[in-house]
Structure formats: C-alpha cells, structure tokens
Amino acid sequence: MENTNGSGRILLEVKDLKKYFPVKRGIFRRTVAHVKAVDGVSFFIREGETLGLVGESGCGKTTTGRVILKLIEPTSGQVILSRDSQMVDLARLRPRQLKPLRREMQIIFQDPYSSLNPRMTIGDIIAEPLVVHSVARGKEREARVKELLEAVGLNPNYMKRYPHEFSGGQRQRIGIARALALDPKLIICDEPVSALDVSIQAQVINLLQDLQKEFGLTYLFIAHDLSVVRHISDRIAVMYLGRIVEMAETEKIFTVPKHPYTEALLSAVPVPDPEFHRERIILKGDVPSPVNPPSGCHFHPRCPYAQAICSQKVPVLEDIGGGHYASCHFARELKLAGVADFTEKH
C-alpha cells in the first residue's frame, strides 16, 4: 500500500522548540541544572499527511508531542498552526485564547489503561470534549457519541458501560473516538500501539489509516517501532537526544539514510528469518544524559564516522536535496547503508 496523502499545504510548523526541565536541589530548591528534553526541534507537517517521529526511549519524542499541545509549557520556540489560512503561534497563546484551538488538535495516548477515567462511562468519556466546548446537547450529543463509537468499530450500545469492561484494543478505540469527537485536523498519536498485542496493533493501525482517509486527518505519529512507522508514515523524522537528526520521505529514510544515527537504527530492524546473520551496527556507549549533552553534534561520541569538527560545531538541520533534511556535517559525503543492506542476503 502506497501512502499518497498530503496536499502540500503546511498545517503545523515547529520552529526551534525547546523544553528544559529544571533540576532542583537543596532546601531552597535552587535550580542546579536543566534536563534538555527538547533542545531545538524544528519540523513541519503537511495537511493530510502522517509524519512519523522515531527515536529511542528518553530522546524527547513524547515531550515534543505534549509541548505542541501545550500540555507542557515550552521553554522557547514556536508552534505555528495554520487555521483557516491564518498562522497562529500556539506557544505564545494564553489558556483562554488556546481553548478554541484545542478543537483543531487532539491526542491519542500510549497507555489505554490509564487514559480512560475508570469512574466515567464510555459515553461520558467520549462526550467530554463536546461538553467542554458546548458543541451539541442532549439527544444530538448522544447521537454524535454513537456515531463516533461506530466510526471506531465499537457497538454504540457500549455507551453506558465502564472502561474496565473492555480489552486493551477496545480501550484504545475508545481513546481514538474521544480524540475524534471535535473533528480535529491534527492528531498526535503518542505510541498508540506500543502497549497492545501484536495482532491488535495491526487492527488499530488500520483503523487509524481508515479514519485518516475518511476525515482527512493529519497525524504526528510518535513511535519507536520502525516497522509500524514505516507502514503508516508518509515522512519520518528521526530524533536523537532532543534534536531532529534527519527528516525525509519514508522510503528515502529507509533506503538512503543521510545520518549515521538513522543508519544504526535501520541495522536493528528485525528480519523474520532465524538463519539470517547480518552485520549490525552496535553503537558504542549509552545515550548521553540530556542534563549534560555532548558538545557540537549530540551524536558524535557514538558516531563511527565522527571527526574533529563534530565535537565543536552544532550541525544544522538542512535540506540536502529533494526535501531530505539531515543535520550532519558530512551528510553529503557519507555513503550510508539502507535497510535493504541489513535485511537481505547478498
């Protein structure tokens, strides 16, 4: 299946977004350092496309998603949402100004167990965004909730049941219905399938794709599972230690990566063949602490191609041709291996 979503109009643009969490110590709770969870992230999403955001645990993917929705206040940077051909910088808005914009963007959470209030019925959970924004009342609201339940493949009669009566996959569908309630344009999917069984992962992914077609949704799909991301994304952004290191169309990322970190990630894609032995790029050392990240390129201490400049100068995320963005001093020179080189016999 080929994804050909995306009209070309930019829906969301994130510019130099930063989120530093203070580390406080001592009885006076003095700030002694900062965890640089998101450290200058820039990317854009076109209307109707799916941008996959991948990276290992703790690299700031989830924080990025939360900051875009202003569930966490950004330290600096811009989050520009296009709304009726107007550009709005969400990062600067006050809570009151932000509320109408919440209708445009919603979130689907990773954990289907803690994301539904156990003391509310499914109907109340899905209707909550409608109540908060006073869209639809009474019978009309009930009809809308039923419609949403049907859209995510659940029986509308489940309205009066409680979350504990449902399985993980069903709960995730309920979470999706809630996110759809206000007819948003952008949905941030924060690892929506990583807590589910593999068989159910496929169902939920397919549901997300069907809904995208039906409602013209735009997804920011945060995940760490490369095969899932490859399946659903039009473009992929790779994150490492609070920064985007590479962003390009899905096939380009997988066939001609331009950043050494992406190459290392691809070498870890599993191959369903027990006989197959391959060269895997094992990165040296651990992920550095985001409290005290390495100088220059964050990846240089673990990069097999690192040179002197890498520890001195921060590489810029720039277009190196055909919408392929990479932030590596040697992006143009390096000949890196694509996924096929790691997963096929020669």
Binding site: M1, I107, F109, P129, H133, G169, S227
Partner: protein
C-alpha cells in the same frame, strides 16, 4: 510494498454481546445492590463486625421509631426536650411510668436515651458531612495545584493540627455559647485536617493519570478536571475513614455535654444524661449503689454505640483496603 511488515488482515477482536434495552438506572441500581450485598456478606463472616452491624442497626431503628417508642406527652412543643415529672432533684428508681427511672430533676431516663439516639446520629452525620466537605476541598485544591498554594494550605492545616482538638473545641464552644449547633460548628472547625491530608495524598497520585492529560487536551478547566476526574478517583478511602469517625464524633460531643457546655438544659442528649448522673454515682452512705440506674443506662448506651462503630470499623478497613488487613 510497505505493508509487508504489518499484517493487515486479522480477525476482529471478539466483542462482548451488547446489553439489550436495559435502562441506565436499573443497571446502576443493580450494580449498587451487588456491591452493598458483597460488603454485607463480608461483614457477617466476622462475628465482631456482624455484632457491630447488628448493634448499629438497632440504634438506627430506635432513632427512626423514637416517636412510637417514647411518645412525647401532649402539648409538648419540642420532642427533643425531655419531659420532667416534678422538680425534685433526687433521682427515682425504675417504675411503671419511668421504665429506667428518672435522673436528677426528674428527667425520664428512657425518654432521654431514645431521643438522644436521634441527637447522636444528627450530630455524627452533620459533623462528618461538613468536615468531609471542608477537608476534601482544601486537600484536593492543595494536592492538585501544588506549589505555593499547597504550601500555604498545608501549613494552615498543620497550625490547626497543633491544637489538642478536644481542648480547642471546648474553648470555641465556650466562646460561641451553649448549644448543639455550636458544638457541631466547633467539631467541624477542628475536625477537617485529617481528611484534607488524606485526600491530598490520593489526589497527588490520581492527578498523574493520563486521563487528566486527556481532559486538559480537550480544553477542560481546572475545576472540571479536579471535581470530575481527580476527586472521584481519590475520594473513596476518605469516605471509609469518615464513616467510621461518626462514633468518635458522638463520643466527643457527649464529652462536651458532660462538661456542661454542649446541649442545652433538658435536651435529649447522652452526654447530658451522664452529666445529670455525675452527682449520684456514689449513692448514700448506707447504699453506695442507690442511684445506679442514673449512670448505668446512659453509660451503657454510649459504650454500645461507640463499640458498634469500632467493631464495624475494623471490618470496613479490611474489606476496602486488603493491604492493611491484620494491622493495628
């Protein structure tokens, strides 16, 4: 091409059959009944809690049936005022007209105890309701907003906790003046702190759930998030503790009445009954137990009531929080 990693066609998850045309209320009522029944069943497994339950059931019946058990005399304006049979100060032993005798100033002991049951329940329920309300609001706001709001509210809570509560209550009642309403106010003012602390802790835990974030993403304001999402998930242990404190509150109120700063003169109140008895505990030189009935019946009533709550309390704790089973 891309689809090779993810299997696209999988059988749909089996969905449970839908319930047919069952009304929301019928469903909820049945659920409530099922829960209550299972709690009752567990209560009766333990002889102590079963006897506690039976004792309290008895008191409830007495309170409800007071007008029939001890009908107020004709042209008696306030049924809570104990009728007096004469004005002699010496108590009279049980007789046909006065089944448990009369206490000082000829107040009928039986009548006072029956109507005093109502007073006890009224004090217990009203005081617990309002202390809970204050405690929940302060604790929930403190835990949810955190930061300096939390600091200020918790320091205030600690200041209130620093006073020995019975002494503080006594001082406040003395300032406000005699009367059961004043007693209840004093108990509320110095009674909410434990609930505030307990619910604050539970709120700190509940607010970390993702559904709170989901509500914020939907644009819900703080009040809605707090009272629709956080408090309902933090309140349950507090409710259990509070329901068990009814016995303690009644005992405290009786203590104030005993000291003569609680219920007004002649009001049906257990503490008051003991207060009337305190001059007659030791009878005459010939017969030390001459007036035994003045202290025995009111004392027995209060002891039974508090004992009932304590028996049931331990069982409640075991049922609702199995982790604490066998402690204390």
């Amino acid at each position: 091409m891309k689809a090779q990693q993810v299997k696209t066609e999988t059988a749909l998850e089996p969905l449970a059959p839908p319930t047919k045309n069952q009304s929301f209320w019928a469903d909820n009522l049945r659920q409530l009944w099922a829960n209550t029944w299972s709690v009752l069943k567990q209560l009766f497994k333990n002889p102590l809690s079963a006897s506690g339950f039976i004792i309290l059931l008895g008191f409830t019946l007495v309170a409800l049936l007071a007008p029939w058990l001890a009908p107020p005399p004709e042209r008696h304006f306030n049924p809570y005022m104990i009728p007096q049979d004469g004005y002699s100060s010496t108590p009279h032993p049980p007789s046909v007209q006065h089944p448990l005798g009369t206490t000082q100033n000829q107040y009928d002991i039986f009548y006072g105890l029956i109507w005093g049951t109502r007073t006890a329940f009224i004090i217990g329920i009203i005081v617990i309701f309002f202390t809970l309300l204050v405690g929940i609001v302060i604790g929930a706001v403190s835990g949810y907003f955190g930061g300096w709001i939390d600091e200020i509210l918790m320091r205030i809570t600690e200041i209130f906790l620093a006073f020995p509560s019975l002494v503080a209550t006594m001082v406040l009642v003395t300032i406000l003046g005699r009367g059961l309403d004043k007693v209840m106010i004093a108990f509320i003012v110095f009674g909410w702190m434990a609930y505030a602390r307990l619910i604050r802790g539970n709120v700190l835990q509940a607010k970390e759930n993702t559904y709170v974030e989901a509500a914020r993403a939907a644009g819900a304001n703080a009040a809605r998030i707090l009272f629709r999402h956080v408090v309902p998930n933090a309140i349950f242990p507090v409710l259990v503790v509070a329901s068990l404190d009814i016995g303690t509150v009644v005992l405290g109120a009786a203590a104030l009445s005993f000291l003569g700063i609680g219920a007004p003169e002649g009001y049906a109140d257990w503490g008051q009954m003991i207060n009337y008895a305190h001059n007659w505990i030791l009878g005459t030189n010939d017969d030390k137990l001459a007036y035994w009935y003045t202290i025995f019946f009111p004392g027995l009533t209060i002891s039974l009531f508090v004992l009932g709550w304590n028996f049931i309390g331990d069982a409640f704790r075991d049922i609702f929080d199995p982790r604490l089973r066998g402690t204390r």
